[in-house]
């Protein structure tokens, strides 16, 4: 039996000025942030005309050699091999933007940072000796310089498009630096913490999601990580005073941005440890 497939036809590269080369890289992650790029259904074909998709295994088997004008990096560094790979990627990238909580703060897999990795591995795998992993899950910034970081678990796709557009036009991406509270105000959502006593990380979490959870009658659970001047201790003390046990407060800070310094320190404080903070 043979198939009727044809050889790949030529790509549309001729007859136009050189388009910037875009590469998308994956480290330890769930794929959700790079999926957010493919989720830009209305813009995807235009983006693919504005840039040359040079490396993006989730979307294409074609590979164009570097150097790349822009690399988007998803995921955190968790293996010795990946620690080397990110160095190579940095060397072949003019600009590098991290996308999402894993690449920016170590992700949920950074929960290993406060646990014994060998013991964790033995819970899942019969033969932990087949694995080659690092003790800690670390953000990309801990290994190489990055031009910009996009927060979120997952990233906001509007912000992703803005960051790509900004880099291609040699300007800084417009990334919100206020807290989720400011987005609730703008959206006109009644404060669920004040009105209903719902525990909410909004006051200490960076904006970017559009204050989604409070609009669904749910407290913010910190997908975008700590914002610049987050007073996590004051919020934690408030939650404790409202009757939330310390272990619950600890877990609230120990999720997708567990290794972001402000959240990591607060979780440690709730465990009764002195703050030991990731790079």
């Amino acid at each position: 039996m043979t198939t009727t497939t044809r050889e790949p036809t030529r790509r549309r590269t001729a007859r136009r000025p050189r388009r910037p080369k875009l590469a998308v890289w994956k480290f330890a992650s769930c794929d959700g942030c790079q999926l957010s790029l493919l989720d830009c259904e209305d813009e995807l074909l235009d983006v693919a005309e504005a840039v040359q998709v040079a490396y993006f295994p989730e979307a294409t088997r074609a590979v164009v050699r570097g150097p790349y004008d822009l690399s988007l990096v998803e995921g955190s560094i968790t293996t010795p091999h990946d620690a080397e790979r990110i160095q190579q990627i940095r060397r072949s990238s003019k600009r590098l933007i991290t996308i999402g909580a894993c690449a920016t703060a170590g992700g949920i897999q950074a929960l290993r940072n406060t646990r014994d990795v060998a013991q964790l591995a033995s819970v899942v795998y019969a033969r932990p000796d087949y694995l080659d992993v690092l003790e800690r899950s670390t953000p990309i910034r801990a290994h190489v310089t990055v031009e910009a970081e996009l927060r979120g678990c997952p990233v906001d796709k509007g912000m992703l498009l803005e960051a790509v557009a900004a880099v291609l036009h040699d300007r800084k991406p417009r990334i919100p630096l206020s807290s989720v509270c400011s987005e609730c105000k703008r959206r006109g959502t009644v404060c669920i913490a004040v009105a209903h006593g719902t525990p909410c990380l909004g006051p200490v979490t960076q904006a970017g999601c559009g204050a989604l959870c409070p609009a669904y009658d749910r407290g913010c659970f910190g997908c975008f990580g700590p914002y610049g001047s987050a007073n996590t201790a004051a919020l934690a003390d408030h939650l404790r005073a409202q009757g939330m046990p310390a272990d619950e407060v600890e877990r609230l800070f120990a999720t997708f941005n567990a290794a972001a310094p402000a959240f990591e320190a607060e979780a440690a404080r709730q465990r009764g440890e002195s703050a030991e903070v990731s790079p």
Binding site: K26, C30, C33, A59, T60, R61, Y130, C213
Partner: protein, 437 residues
């Protein structure tokens, strides 16, 4: 003297996550086939220990950004089962609607962006769009409708925020539902056009003997967001039916050296298939309406034993999911009752399952007196399919040794994509490497 070839794909493209393929051929015989999963392990079952059962849906969603709803639904089902609670019909309907969104989004992604370029001869959908712009736009439109349904019921397309143990934080408002309903008529037309287009593709003609496994919801629905029983069979004879709670006794997971995914084997059977082919084979007669009519008109055989025809069944399931979403919205009760039921903290052991776009997903949790997770087990679809993917590759390569390495390798990649493998899920899971030497 030995004549040897080897085929290698160090980075498998157009799959979710990181894997590789390695095939070694000696003297015209396939000597070794490995679907290697090098996606780094993240230890979810490890750090679920000590977490509150109520956190399981949000934490396990992060196993996979492509099918977070599958994880959220299975986690909710498991925790609710552990605590002996059941949800209302309206909550079940809203979960099914959310899940229809994920099926439409994920299947459209796979059909148009990952799989169709293989059959039409392109490296990707973006270059395919240069010659088939309308077709790709149709796919993107469908995909977007799936995302809109997830945003409606879940608040967000990737890692929805609105689902919780016991139900939802809130139900969507009537006006939000009316807006989403409006785009479903176009989606129904797009889904039908998609099915007609993929049914007309020239696909490799392969026939395999498969053993299928799929969920069996008691209410007789096509399986999606829940089910307490599992069907297991070849799609011809009467299937074996067993309680989900016996899954651990029926399925053994093995840790093999070349993979960070655990390989699942069905007791007394060995490798088996989950996903669209399995659902269609075992419970395809439960499809109704337009999906059933189109399957008959287009002569979609049942069971489908050609793995390359999985794209046809996937497209059929999109037709079904769009129609099901229309039905769920059209029959949504005027007074749906509370959006959540109370699930008090406490001890128990519970199994929960759902049918992810790529197949059956099973969770099991053991909870302590404080409602904290003592022990978690997650069996994702791709680790269940992995042994069968390797068996398919072996059979395919042995029948196609006349092809040169480049073409054989390319077709092996297609054979892997037949399963819509989700490697992020299975790692807990893939590198193609063909060695003829």
């Amino acid at each position: 003297m030995t004549r040897a070839r080897s085929l290698d794909v160090p980075v498998l493209a157009r799959v979710e996550g990181e894997g590789a393929m390695h095939v070694r051929i000696r003297d015209g015989k396939v000597d070794d086939v490995r679907l290697q999963i090098y996606e780094p392990p993240r230890f979810f079952e490890g750090f679920l220990r000590g977490r509150d059962a109520a956190e399981a849906p949000d934490i396990t969603a992060r196993i996979c950004g492509i099918c977070p709803v599958a994880y959220q639904a299975a986690a909710c089902n498991a925790v609710e089962a552990a605590r002996g609670e059941t949800v209302t019909d309206a909550i079940r309907a809203m979960r099914r609607l959310l899940y229809c969104g994920e099926w439409i989004e994920s299947h459209a992604l796979h059909i148009y962006l990952l799989h169709a370029p293989d059959f039409l001869g392109y490296p990707d959908a973006l270059s395919m769009a240069a010659d088939h712009r309308e077709l790709v736009q149709q796919g993107l439109r469908l995909k977007k409708t799936g995302n809109e349904l997830m945003e409606l019921a879940g608040g967000r397309a990737v890692h929805p925020v609105n689902i919780k143990v016991g139900g939802f934080y809130r139900f969507p408002t009537p006006s939000e539902m009316a807006r989403a309903r409006a785009s479903l008529d176009q989606a129904a037309a797009d889904a039908e056009a998609t099915l007609r287009a993929v049914a007309a593709l020239a696909l490799p003609d392969v026939r395999m003997d498969y053993h299928f496994v799929a969920l069996d919801p008691e209410n007789g629905d096509y399986p999606l967001e829940d089910g307490r029983f599992v069907l297991s069979g070849d799609g011809v004879g009467d299937p074996d039916r067993f309680a989900l709670d016996l899954f651990d006794e029926r399925v053994v997971e093995l840790h093999v050296e070349h993979s960070n995914a655990l390989h699942a084997r069905l007791h007394g059977v060995g490798s088996y298939v989950v996903g669209p082919l399995a659902r269609w084979a075992l419970v395809g007669d439960r499809m109704t309406g337009r999906a059933a009519a189109l399957a008959a008109e287009l002569d979609v055989e049942r069971p489908v034993r050609n793995p390359f025809a999985s794209i046809v069944v996937r497209a059929l399931e999109v037709v079904f999911a769009v129609e099901e979403a229309q039905r769920l919205l059209d029959t949504w009760p005027g007074d749906p009752g509370p959006s959540g039921v109370d699930v008090p903290r406490g001890p128990g052991v519970g199994y929960g399952a759902s049918e992810a776009p790529r197949g059956l997903l099973v969770h099991r949790y053991r909870l302590d007196d404080d409602g904290l997770i003592r022990d978690a087990r997650i069996i994702p679809p791709t680790s269940q399919n992995q042994a069968q993917i390797e068996a398919d590759l072996r059979a395919f390569v042995e029948d196609h040794l006349d092809l040169d390495d480049a073409e054989l390798t390319r077709q092996c990649e297609v054979a892997i994509r037949n399963y819509d493998p989700c490697i992020s899920c299975a790692t807990h899971f893939l590198r193609l490497h063909v060695d003829r030497g």
